[in-house]
Amino acid sequence: MKGSALATTSTVSVRTSEPPRLQPLSRLREIAGDREILANLVRKEVKVKYKSSVLGAAWSMLNPILYLAVFSLVFTVVLKNGVPHFPIYLLSGLLAWNLFATSLALGARSVVDNANLVTKVYFPREILPFASVGAAGVDFVLQAIVLLIFLAAFRYDFIGLNVLLLPLSLVALLAFTSALTLWVASLNVRYRDTQHLLNLALLTWFWVTPVVYPSAAAYDALGHHAGYFKYLYLANPMTAIVMGFQRALYRTVSPLHLVGGRPVAVPVLAPVSVGWLAILLGAVTAGSIGLLVLAWRTFFHLSGDFAEEL
């Protein structure tokens, strides 16, 4: 034991009153070194979430199924909008949305709820919001399984160039989600109503993002108005990301639907090319990474005082 105690003496740390400047790469290396903490916190997050529930992790899979049941009822029976293979359309967008919304909801509370850790031990504080994203990632995987089951059940053909949009959308989603999660986590330490305002914001955000309704409809409706409405709509990064997921997994822009025995093309996805969408997603990814660095810098700057604020 003695040998290792002496071996660690080489790690010298200096702390001053100056908040240290964030060096993203070396900080990433530090966090990579602490990945055990991250893994344990993600595990903790998931365990605590399901600790007192009978269904356990099945809740995560039930969530999209319930959405599916409700929205299928509303759209195919009441509103009769008739999106063919509606479950696949809904679930592919919802998959992205849920990762985003769950990360933010968990992330907002991540520092505050772990006050007993923050005030008692030192570790890189970013790990807390990142663990929220990780816990939402676990849900993401479970919900992806639900989607895969539907894809298999319909023997749905989605393979094509469009699948390449999936990794791109995922990177954009993770960068954008992490950025906002870091931001709300640090804001909520000071202003505790952030988490409540966040719920309202997420509700609004959900409906300006084409998760439930066909993006073609929004595209079409906004196209009739002055052009900048459409660009405003597209300026929502979640729109681009959700459209990326939908294009990757639902694939067909205007699938044929049999109406009275005649096939009719139903506009579902926004009528844009895969290449155009890829460029849009590339821009969102670049912007999100920039935002992530900014949000991280803010979080890093504020995190030195978290222990005082709690």
């Binding site: 002496l6 660690t8 003496t9 001053t16 009153s17 600790k51 007993n116 031990v121 030192y122 109503d193």
Partner: protein
């Protein structure tokens, strides 16, 4: 010798806000904030050489925990800097960061990873940790059902198994039964022999005397005394006396209570200094809260190096109470004070004849000063009459 911890001119300012907005809603409607600064630490410098143990003592609110948190990296100093060498394990107050909803086992893994252990290392040490904490039967229980003693035991067990170069311990050894405290102190000694650095915040000053090579006394955020533990503990006791606090060295079943005590010259005066050879009275007013058979009242004197000087009791001096009830005033009259130059600390006690029952003990709560014996050098004052006759 290199220092494991170097604290250089560290200050910590807390801003105390009056009606600080805690919600965005309030923030939006109010712009001005009344804030006042409070310096919990100011210009604190100290060094802990590698492999030594430092005791940090001070009255409540003197900044001990704040300083420990700054060294641990939990708080950021407002001025100055802290340099540490090697992995730090900190054990601050209760729980050391457990999550109530998780079981003891899950918390051990979480805590160990925060303190820098890998999963494999934790697997290997897990049995030892649980054994040390004596929690084999409860390790799969959620820690929200733990008692505070169980919390601390588990926290301490993890902290001492993670192989830190620096161990920071705050007030935790006060919890837990005597057997566990012993075990912790043994572990601390083992750490010392392995050449690790320890900083120890405690109220139990006897632990400082027992374990630490040096000590620092903090008072109102500043270093008041440092160096030899005996000196520092002495200074600490002086502070506690000045503050006239009934301090932690007050124990007993209180079946007989020491209501008040006074030390004065037999002419009734209480001078700044007594003179060697003065007749000095130690007077105690006692009150029985129950009828007690055959109690003994005693006093003891310690000098400023915590050396026992003298002690006696009513039994040896021929005062007895077969049945003690009601109120009594007890006086010990030292007919010729044999002490010189210094401060003396008085311990008062009421206990059963065989000392198996302690009714009330006030340990070194009172003190008096004796002036130097000007023309009489030496460690004691002997009442000497000089005479001469012509032969």
């Amino acid at each position: 010798m290199t220092s494991a911890i170097a604290v250089e001119g560290v200050g910590k300012r807390f801003r105390i806000y009056k009606d600080r907005p805690t919600t965005l809603k309030e923030r939006a409607v109010r712009f001005r904030m009344n804030a006042r600064d409070f310096w919990a630490l100011r210009d604190v410098s100290l060094e802990v050489p590698e492999g030594t143990t430092l005791g940090l003592i001070g009255p409540n609110g003197s900044g001990k925990t704040t300083l420990l948190k700054i060294v641990a990296g939990i708080l950021r100093p407002s001025e100055g800097r802290v340099v540490t060498r090697g992995r730090i394990a900190s054990l601050l107050a209760l729980g050391a960061g457990f999550h109530p909803e998780l079981t003891g086992r899950e918390n051990v893994y979480l805590n160990a990873s925060i303190l820098g252990l890998t999963r494999q290392e934790t697997d290997r040490l897990f049995g030892d940790i649980v054994g040390f904490a004596e929690l084999e039967d409860f390790i799969d229980t959620q820690v929200k059902f733990y008692s505070s003693g169980m919390y601390v035991r588990l926290g301490f067990a993890v902290a001492v198994h993670v192989d830190p170069a620096i161990l920071l311990v705050d007030e935790v050894l006060a919890v837990g039964d005597e057997g566990f405290q012993r075990k912790c102190l043994d572990r601390v000694r083992q750490f010392q022999s392995e050449g690790r650095t320890i900083v120890f915040v405690t109220h139990a000053v006897h632990q400082v005397l027992e374990v630490c090579q040096s000590a620092v006394l903090l008072r109102q955020g500043a270093v008041q005394a440092r160096g030899d533990p005996h000196e520092v503990v002495r200074a600490f006791r002086l502070i506690m006396l000045e503050k006239d606090l009934a301090y932690a060295w007050d124990r007993g079943s209180k079946e007989i209570e020491i209501v008040s005590a006074e030390i004065f010259r037999s002419d009734g005066s209480t001078p700044d200094h007594f003179l060697p050879g003065d007749e000095v009275v130690i007077q105690m007013d006692l009150k029985a809260n129950a009828v007690v058979e055959d109690p003994v009242v005693s006093f003891a004197l310690h000098d400023q190096h915590n050396q026992f000087v003298f002690g006696t009791n009513t039994d040896w001096r021929g005062v007895r109470w077969p049945r003690f009830e009601g109120k009594h005033r007890v006086q010990f009259v030292m007919q010729s004070l044999p002490l010189v130059d210094g401060r003396y600390f008085v311990t008062l006690g009421v206990h059963s004849r065989d000392s198996s029952r302690v009714y009330h003990v006030q340990e070194q709560q009172y003190s008096f000063r004796v002036a130097p014996g000007e023309d009489n050098p030496g460690p004691v004052y002997v009442s000497v009459r000089a005479r001469s006759e012509r032969l």
